[in-house]
Symmetry: C2
Subunit: 400 residues, 2 copies
């Protein structure tokens, strides 16, 4: 008499990336001679840097010898990596204990699973538009959602909710808008959360794309955040680990929930991970330690700069033909406003059929994304230049 | 106002492996000169076989070059690996389509997450004793549990439930008892599930330890199982991937739930994985393909035989001193009956303090495990021999 989880009916049949590919397929199939540049999903394109390759090689070689082979590691992550992450925060003057670091197989898993910490009746506040995994995970697990609207008017950073919510999910730099919350904006959320004993889930997967020292790269730069915020991080975009899979979450011991004593959320997340996860791959964790080494940091920062130069090129080209663009300065995403009267999907089709560029329609990130389109700056430089030439040639100068 | 998930209060503070280590710690700390042999958790000890190391190396090298670097893979797994797994079943005359194969980061994740397919009100039948992750995952997600008792009387294979249940979790070869369900026993479960439109979750992580062709290695050897069973598999114990992390689940398209049309569970699991998982590491998946290659199969089977020789040695030694033992013939676990009047934890303490061997008390696997103890056959041969010598010397001949 197994009954299926009825909440699956509340999400679209396909995850957004699959939806865009499906939409593009007929044109691609009918035009086999046309080369398409894919700037849809935020997928890294450049090979792993040498320092990281060396770390991964070492990870493999260790498993080949009896003396260095290891089986199960700690579910929470290799002690050395947890320590390295703690020190990485320390260099930014943020005090995170290794026991507050939980290494994962990537931010996407944690974004979905972290909600298991909270009561099923929780009201979850989610930005709109935003990375769809939060919304879809919340829907599949049957949560109530309140959307925090992001628009040109508020610079795509939502205001604190007027009502009381239990959990707030924030993403800065934002995917898809590229907007970054200021210190003051994050402070308003931290103050709100502390006042209401709410918990903030802060997705900082793109923090390494922030240019310069003024914008906050971690929510823990805000005073009091360790009492109300969980931070999710990833090696995917900062080190090209999209397919390698590694990330982490910080679950501070000092978090305070409405009905939970200090320490309980750290303890429960520990219990969840020990029960339903067996740690990230030991090979991959060796790679993660290499990312955080001085040489790894230097080399991966250069790669981030490469993608940000892509972003500059795309942004400039789009502006030159008359598009109104946002983002692309502290994030690898350009958020493009559709010309008056053109929908997200219509502009998606135009970019595909005229410029042969795959993008992501803004509406895929939520209703408030309608009228916008996201272009990813990940890609080989020559592909970015090809896309840009094609955009310049095929769109000419259009009205804003 | 964040409220914590109240179900965490229904599980013990620590996962069972952490509990046993905690219990052993004082003795270890007070006796630094004594060398302890750890036969508690089922942790592989031998290095990865050469064919697999070659595959993993290739996985790393691909990421070092622009031409072969890949970012995100399919959340469901690399098409080549899904095909290889489908063919692996094909060699056993089981027809599984690649689209029914979902590659994961290991069986433990899937064992916990698979329950999200089913309504929160589902009644879950779980063997007792059994691998505690099922029970704890079900408790954390607030499910109702019905325990299926396994005892010496039923050869540690439970009978089908008398009442109607929604989901049944079976594990064969069983962890911890080492018992293997026969064709007839599995058929009774498949018949029950088809009659009641229940779904069986079949954990086959130890199937490679089955000796000879008569015992079923997959639930799909039973007619009709593709209408009622999900199978979870792992590279952990068959190829030493406990720390490398790789597994898979088969979610047939032909599954029939009480209120779900054919195909819906396959589609929902696909949606769950796309939303809350980003695929197993591409490096690790290259290793997985190497495991399934002819050379990989040959070499990993030799490693399994090595551990099974360990099991034979342990079993023989325990019997020679008078213990009543089960398992260890088609599974890498020996299930030892405690002498009359001795509890699981008491025997755990005796093995630790007298023989300097860490085991796992049977009661950690459920109430019906009280009065038993699990000994793992994973370990270097000389450690196994050391433990066995110590057991023979320190236990002498004891009453059954």
């Amino acid at each position: 008499m197994a009954k299926v989880n009825p909440n699956f009916k509340n999400v679209s049949e396909r995850y957004f990336s699959a939806e865009a590919l499906k939409r593009a397929k007929p044109f691609i199939d009918e035009n086999p001679g046309i080369e398409i540049v894919k700037l849809g999903i935020g997928d890294t394109s450049e090979p792993l840097v040498p320092a990281v390759i060396a770390g991964l090689r070492e990870g493999v070689e260790k498993l080949s010898k009896r003396e260095t082979y290891r089986g199960y590691g700690d579910e929470q992550g290799d002690t050395r990596l947890r320590k390295a992450i703690s020190e990485w925060y320390g260099k930014r003057n943020i005090g995170i204990e290794p026991e507050e670091v939980f290494v994962s197989d990537g931010a996407k898993s944690d974004c979905g699973n972290i909600l298991s910490l909270f009561s099923g009746a929780s009201l979850i506040a989610i930005s709109d538009p935003v990375y769809p995994a939060y919304r879809d995970s919340a829907l599949i697990t049957g949560r109530n959602i309140m959307y925090m609207e992001c628009s040109e008017k508020n610079g795509f950073i939502p205001a604190i909710p007027k009502e009381k919510v239990d959990v707030l999910i924030l993403c800065s730099p934002n995917n898809p808008t590229g907007a970054v919350a200021t210190h003051a904006q994050l402070k308003s959320f931290v103050d709100y959360a502390r006042k209401n004993k709410s918990i903030i889930i802060f997705d900082a997967a793109y923090s390494e794309y922030i240019n310069g020292p003024t914008m906050p790269k971690s929510i823990y730069e805000i005073e009091g955040a360790k009492q109300c915020a969980i931070e999710i991080q990833s090696f995917s975009k900062s080190a090209g680990f999209t397919g390698v899979r590694l990330g982490w979450s910080i679950v501070p011991k000092s978090l305070i929930a409405e009905d939970g004593t200090e320490g309980v959320l750290n303890q429960y997340w520990n219990r969840r991970q020990m029960t339903m996860f067996n740690g990230a791959s030991n090979i991959v964790q060796e790679g993660g330690m290499a990312v955080l080494s001085p040489l790894g940091q230097k080399q991966t920062h250069q790669q981030v700069a490469y993608y940000m130069e892509n972003a500059r090129i795309i942004r400039e080209a789009l502006e030159s033909v008359g598009f109104n663009v946002f983002g692309g300065v502290n994030a690898p995403y350009i958020w493009l406003k559709c010309p008056e009267g053109t929908s997200s999907w219509e502009l998606f089709d135009e970019f595909l059929t005229k410029a042969h560029v795959i993008t992501t329609p803004g509406v895929a990130f939520g209703n408030s994304g309608e009228g916008y389109m996201r272009i990813s700056a990940f890609g080989h430089r020559e592909d970015i230049e090809k896309a840009v030439r094609s955009i310049r040639e095929n769109f000419g100068t259009i009205a804003k």
